[in-house]
């Protein structure tokens, strides 16, 4: 694969290599470029601070109920909501529980909690104990129960190993069970892979909306098979989470109309 010089080698690279037009970098030129880069990033950071203040003010207005359009949300359109949390922040279980309480207040009853390292999986007993009548996601088991015995709220826990490795396990499940044979060889299709994923225990619904609490707008390895048409919204760090920002994210999601390629 083709390579690029790494950031920390910038000055060294530029001093040792000439520009293509034969115009070599001088030491003062490198200092100027570094200074200009720092200025551009400082201006970018200032714009983020400015917009953070605006959004903070807006969030307080939403929380106080002064903005009418955020008051009644048609939450039924969210069949399943996923939350990706940066693993280091996921240790803050009390914040995670508070976030889940906000969502249940809003009426979201089917949630997937994801972090790369499986920190939330380790905390699941604490989290489920704090939440009344929520159950671990065991869809098939729940659906077999009579309707009045089914849990009202479902919380699912996932980590990086449920993504690519999960798909690999499903593929090996098909290999060992020979679900479909054509001309003497196994043919993999999206349909039989979906069934195999369920058979391997990956029964989670595809989330409509995925909210990311962390430094970057990145899904951090959320199970790929479930991300096809999921709206992804970045909320910032978990420590700065705000109820108003959550309401705004859900409101904006409810305005989206997907055409699924048509």
């Amino acid at each position: 694969m083709l390579n690029r010089p790494q950031f920390f080698e910038f000055a060294d690279y530029k001093i040792r290599n000439h520009d293509d037009e034969g115009f070599p970098y001088s030491y003062s030129g490198i200092i100027f470029l570094q200074f200009a880069w720092n200025i551009i990033h400082l201006l970018a950071s200032m714009s983020y601070v400015f917009w953070d203040i605006i959004y903070l003010f807006q969030s307080y207005l939403i929380s106080s109920g002064l903005l009418k359009k955020y008051k009644s949300l048609n939450i039924n359109q969210i069949h399943h909501l996923a939350i990706v949390i940066e693993s280091e922040e996921a240790h803050n279980t009390s914040r995670v529980i508070e976030l889940l309480r906000w969502l249940t207040t809003l009426g979201v009853n089917s949630i997937c909690l994801y972090d790369m390292d499986g920190v939330l999986k380790k905390s699941k007993d604490i989290i489920l104990t704090e939440l009344d009548d929520a159950s671990l996601f065991e869809l098939e088991a729940e659906k077999k129960k009579p309707l009045h015995e089914q849990k009202q709220r479902i919380v699912e826990f996932a980590s990086l190993s449920d993504g690519k490795e999960g798909i690999t396990r499903a593929a090996n499940y098909l290999c060992s069970h020979d679900v479909k044979i054509a001309n003497g060889t196994l043919v993999f299709t999206e349909a039989n892979m979906s069934q195999a994923l369920k058979a391997c225990g990956y029964v989670g619904l595809d989330p409509n909306l995925l909210i990311v609490y962390g430094p970057a707008r990145c899904h951090l390895g959320f199970p790929p098979w479930r991300l096809r048409y999921t709206e992804i919204v970045h909320m910032g760090p978990l420590k700065s989470m705000r109820y108003g920002a959550l309401v705004k994210a859900i409101y904006q999601f409810l305005k989206v109309r997907q055409n699924h390629g048509t």
Partner: protein
């Protein structure tokens, strides 16, 4: 003063002011980490055409011109891999005449790309068409194969055009190829001795592994994307590069694709640079 004047007039003869400004900004940006691979979802061509009361197909034609500009900016900046989502398997659900128009446009543009003065030759671009090409009609498939063959020796930068592509189809195809490879290994003589020859006995050597699937992905020749840009403010991936975007910075400017500019790219790269060290730390931790 005379030498400065001649220097300036020489530069203005060769390049416009905007091009000079662009080069200056790129010089500054490359102080920080620069993405090796950028992926684009070209969303908004139809809405652009509707907003200007144009014919639907004209939005895609203008979108193509915008694509050429964005490719130029990316390659000038030193991005080595660019991937674009040109046509999804889901897009076959559109009205037949619209699908046909898109196929005709694709055919026309593939021919243009191969012309002497095109961006492909100016930048030494190697073109890959990735997706389930058997879903395309014979003409488009042949043109795509011709373009790949004609640019196979170019080695400076890579353009991956996703046609008849979805990520789930790519994953299934990779699994199928991995399975077929395992079957062939099992059918070879002495295949049961593989573990012994290596000096240890492998557990379940016939199991497909994550690395097997990654080796057989359509896009295995390219590293994972560093930035994925989807225009029109849409925040979903629409079944594009779901496997490859574990550590990818997602950027969704609200601008329609034909209106995307150099400054949007700059802003996307600035944001990537802000989170680069965090994403690298996550990537290294997993490996």
């Amino acid at each position: 003063m005379g030498s400065v004047g001649s220097f300036l007039s020489k530069y203005f003869e060769k390049e416009s002011m905007l091009s000079l400004l662009r080069r200056g900004v790129f010089r500054i940006l490359t102080v920080g980490p620069t993405p090796n691979h950028i992926a684009f979802i070209l969303d908004g061509n139809r809405r652009y055409a509707q907003s200007l009361n144009m014919k639907e197909g004209d939005g895609h034609k203008i979108g193509f011109l915008t694509l050429m500009s964005m490719l130029k900016y990316c390659y000038e900046m030193g991005v080595k891999y660019v991937t674009i989502y040109a046509f999804s398997i889901d897009n076959f659900k559109r009205k037949p005449h619209e699908v046909q128009n898109l196929m005709n446009l694709m055919l026309e543009k593939i021919e243009e790309l191969l012309e002497e003065e095109s961006i492909v030759h100016n930048f030494g671009i190697r073109v890959h068409f990735i997706g389930n090409l058997m879903l395309l009609n014979e003409q488009v498939r042949a043109a795509a194969k011709k373009a790949m063959a004609a640019t196979a020796k170019n080695d400076k930068v890579v353009l991956s055009i996703c046609v008849a592509y979805t990520s789930t189809d790519e994953i299934v195809h990779a699994i199928q190829e991995s399975y077929n490879e395992k079957q062939e290994e099992n059918n070879e003589p002495n295949s049961n001795d593989i573990g012994v020859h290596k000096g240890f006995v492998e557990r379940n050597p016939n199991d497909i592994k994550v690395t097997d699937i990654e080796r057989h992905m359509y896009s295995a020749f390219a590293p994972d994307p560093d930035i994925l840009i989807r225009t029109s403010g849409e925040t979903r991936l629409s079944n594009f590069l779901l496997w490859q975007t574990t550590y990818c910075h997602l950027y969704s400017p609200s601008v329609l694709w034909p209106n995307i500019s150099f400054w949007h790219l700059v802003w996307g790269i600035l944001n990537y640079q802000r989170v680069h060290s965090y994403l690298e730390k996550k990537r290294k931790k997993t490996f």
